[in-house]
């Protein structure tokens, strides 16, 4: 308690200098929190876009389907898989899908297309496909009165083939059994816009796609959302342990290129933030060193009366830590409302950004404990590290020289 009192009083000894040093740390902390929040918020939004648009948080495939997709690499024991997914409390929702390349015929045009078979009921629980319908309506599982199944097609494909809602669409492909697959579908909706990842896709009800591709009851993929997206790697590992015959991939593996780019961008941003804090702490180091120099005689006296060198290092570290703690707490109070605003409202972007057919008009931050605590821990750790050299200097003071006599 007495040591704490000494530390407090030493901080208050040079009020103006402590205030300026504290303000520089407060500024560094606020800048760190702001950049961190914006970075995490932006990437959080991007991750939400493609996980909710297409990938989900975790996917399950047969063998190496993700890297080398083949129509015959399909999941057969769906009942067992769904039992595992239903039994895992972390899995919020899941949906099966099938995929195949195909040739699409419109009125008098042809175009390559990607057939995606989806479960019309389950798909909206995992992806935002239904929200991306630009015209027409979401399809059902059953064929119409004339026996035709409905199809939803991407915006790009609709333009290429010059087909619209209500028109016929012919698909030709190869079935899983090697047979020629062909059928006629009625376009029920146009999906997304020119920038959507699925602009050349043809969505079919799962049953229709399985029939078209002679897949029986098999599917190529299960995509799912988990209750805590930050735990998706952990959950994927859990599922993999219970599904050894299948391949469970978190979105980080599904979108490996994006993930690597994001990590590298985050690292460079963290480096920049670290650099800012480093510059701030050069000033802090200077202040602490100055304070040690000014108190040389006192440290000499303390050493003379029996203070161990390490107790002086602890005293200097304690003083710097207290100042750093006070500074970040002030910073926390000042920056919290702003971060809340950035997260809830965000900055208006002059030109809206189109991501897979979804427009974003605001750049938003993230308001979470880690956004505040991580920079806080970093600042405090840096304060402790930075106070060690002056502490060592204080500990090395020779009482005889500090007392200035011989």
């Amino acid at each position: 308690m007495l040591t704490l009192r000494i530390a407090f009083r030493n901080i208050l000894r040079q009020k103006r200098r402590s205030l300026l040093t504290g303000l520089s740390m407060t500024g560094g902390y606020m800048l760190f929190v702001f950049s961190f929040s914006l970075l995490e918020g932006s990437y959080g939004n991007l991750i939400d876009i493609f996980t909710l648009d297409n990938t989900g948080h975790v996917q399950v495939h047969k063998d190496d389907y993700l890297d080398k997709p083949k129509i015959y690499k399909s999941i057969q024991d769906r009942q067992q898989l769904e039992k595992v997914l239903e039994g895992n409390p972390s899995v919020k929702s899941y949906t099966p899908r099938v995929f195949s390349p195909a040739l699409a015929y419109g009125d008098d045009k042809t175009s390559p297309a990607r057939v995606i078979g989806i479960d019309p009921k389950r798909e909206p629980t995992v992806s935002r496909l239904e929200e991306k319908i630009s015209s027409g309506q979401y399809f059902g599982s059953n064929p119409d009165a004339d026996g035709y199944f409905e199809a939803m097609i991407g915006h790009g494909l609709a333009i290429s083939l010059k087909v619209d809602v209500g028109d016929e669409l012919v698909l030709i492909s190869q079935g899983a059994d090697g047979s020629i697959a062909n059928d006629i579908y009625i376009v029920s909706a146009i999906i997304g816009n020119r920038t959507s990842f699925d602009r050349m896709a043809v969505y079919l009800p799962l049953g229709a796609a399985q029939l078209f591709l002679s897949l029986g009851n098999d599917v190529h993929e299960y995509a799912m959302l988990v209750d805590n997206k930050r735990r998706n790697l952990e959950i994927a590992a859990e599922l993999q342990a219970t599904l050894p015959e299948l391949t469970v991939s978190p979105w980080q593996e599904v979108e490996a290129t994006f993930y690597r780019t994001m990590q590298s961008d985050k690292q460079s941003n963290h480096f920049m933030m670290g650099l800012i804090v480093f510059i701030v702490f050069i000033g802090v180091l200077n202040t602490v060193l100055m304070s040690v120099l000014e108190r040389t005689r006192e440290f000499g006296v303390l050493r003379a009366i029996g203070a161990r060198p390490d107790s002086l290092v602890r005293l200097i570290t304690l003083e710097t830590s207290i100042l750093a703690m006070a500074s970040v707490l002030v910073g926390l109070v000042l920056i919290s409302p702003y971060i809340y605003w950035v997260t809830e409202v965000g900055f208006l972007i002059p030109e809206p950004i189109d991501m897979s057919g979804i427009e974003f008009q605001h750049l938003k931050g993230e308001f979470s404990l880690r956004v505040f605590l991580l920079p806080m821990a970093f600042i405090l750790a840096t304060a402790i590290v930075i106070s060690i050299p002056p502490g060592i200097r204080a500990a090395r003071i020779l009482p005889k020289e500090a007392l200035g006599s011989h």
């Binding site: 009083r9 003379a304 009366i305 029996g306 203070a307 161990r308 060198p309 107790s311 009482p399 011989h406």
Partner: protein
């Protein structure tokens, strides 16, 4: 009588080869428990250097210092710190109190270093303040105490850890005559009551008058050693 301080052939030089000054020239003295010793001599005779070597604040170029039979040169840095903390009390000419601490806290600090429990520390602080006649002034910081009062606090601080030896470097040099006498009386009383060993470096006739032993230094060597 037990020898508490023994110096053997102490040599201490300062400066480089060209400007070398011999501060202590093979000094050997023994001081026994309970002695009230004054080391006297003109400025530059080596009084403070000898005191610093005895207190382990400085190291000799050759020779040795034994405190209660232990060669302090053989102690590690931490052992020497602990030894000073537990066995030696320092009183400096310039008081050297910690300015951010009150009188009470200055006295308490050394006991904190010793790991004495808070309640015991508080009681000892009050006892020390009473002993040096500063009751009621414990909450004042050094800046709000007179020179004499500050030196009393320094005496109380030196005594608080109940050391075997008190080393006092010109303790009355900055005090007026009356305050100096009063402080010396306090120290003499403590010496007599608790049999603490006092070693002063001084020019002050008042100390010399009260000392039981006078060690005269000249040019770094013992010129005369007289017991009263």
């Amino acid at each position: 009588m037990t020898k508490v301080i023994e110096t053997r052939d102490l040599l201490r030089k300062f400066g480089s080869e060209e400007t070398e000054v011999i501060a202590l020239d093979h000094v050997s003295i023994d001081i026994e428990e309970g002695e009230f010793t004054a080391i006297i001599g003109p400025s530059g005779s080596g009084k403070t250097t000898l005191l610093h070597l005895i207190g382990g604040l400085d190291e000799p170029d050759s020779g040795a210092v034994y405190l209660s039979g232990t060669n302090i040169a053989q102690m590690s840095g931490n052992e020497l710190s602990d030894f000073r903390r537990d066995h030696i009390g320092f009183i400096f000419q310039a008081y050297n109190l910690i300015p951010v601490l009150s009188a009470e806290e200055n006295i308490e600090y050394i006991m904190l270093l010793q790991g004495v429990p808070a309640a015991k520390r508080k009681a000892r602080v009050q006892e020390m303040l009473a002993m040096v006649g500063l009751e009621g002034l414990g909450d004042r910081r050094p800046a709000h105490l007179s020179g004499g009062q500050q030196q009393r606090v320094a005496v109380a601080r030196a005594m608080a850890s109940n050391p075997d030896i008190i080393l006092a470097d010109e303790p009355t040099a900055n005090l007026d005559s009356k305050t100096g006498i009063s402080l010396l009386d306090v120290m003499r009383e403590l010496n007599e009551q608790q049999n603490m060993t006092f070693v002063f470096s001084t020019h002050d006739q008042k100390i010399m008058d009260r000392a039981t032993r006078l060690i005269h230094l000249r040019d770094g060597a013992v010129e005369k050693d007289e017991r009263k």
